[in-house]
Symmetry: D2
Subunit: 89 residues, 4 copies
């Protein structure tokens, strides 16, 4: 469950990401130098990872903690391995 | 220089990415399960990497080839190392 | 705490990795083609990740589960974020 | 072709890596704390990447440059994409 504080922070980051994607579109329309385009793509990846990090930490503190204390631990082990080796790349 | 064919392909991908970012925003507003949100973020990363791959290949075939044949090789070695170890992550 | 079953599996993997590192050394001594050397390096990374994955899963099932149930949750949140975003790369 | 200077540097790094792998083996035998084991694995990955980086730069300056100037450019584009998106991970 995404707590309200994380929610507003994540939404603010997403509006920045939308601006970055529009900026990337403009660079491609204007046929900017490839390495500058790749730098913009890399910045969007980093901003997205910022959102991901906060969602992961929120997940650890809420769902995983409840799950290991009283719920279905196996499900959470499986999901955590997926987060570590796929979803956080 | 981004050739026209790559340009239109990349712009189509970007419109899909914009839709995915809007979808992510909706999931966060609706406080969806964290792992589903992380899966959406991972899908956006993958779509962005698709754009990046095409820009990198275009760069190899145009700027790098011209640069190594008659231009400033040192500049291209440096940029290529940056692409391999930073911009393609 | 590394359970005995994981321990023997990890030690078997490590003896394979030692062989791969010796193989890499031989390729460099014999000045093999760079891309073949890089392929060998990539194989060693993959084998090492195999060991890492098992240690991470073992950690989740033992230390993290005990820690979140009755121990110092904050310490484990911090360590898990370090695993996700640094130690598993 | 791996030039002699890179060769000796890479071989020195490999002897350090062998020591690190032996250290990792010892930690697993002695059932050290999982996060410490993962930190050691991460250090070996970093040391391996150091070797990889030098081989990639050497490859750019020798094989790729010769290849794009007078050889089979298509083969090198394909290999470079493999380096960027697989072998450098």
């Amino acid at each position: 469950m995404i707590d309200p504080q994380l929610q507003s922070k994540a939404l603010r980051r997403l509006s920045i990401i939308k601006g970055q994607v529009n900026g990337l579109e403009k660079m491609i329309r204007e046929q900017k130098y490839c390495v500058d385009v790749l730098t913009q793509i890399s910045a969007i990846h980093e901003a997205l990872r910022g959102v991901g990090r906060e969602v992961v930490e929120n997940h650890l503190r809420t769902c995983v903690t409840d799950g290991l204390r009283k719920g279905d631990a196996e499900k959470h082990y499986k999901e955590l391995m997926d987060i570590v080796y796929r979803l956080s790349k």
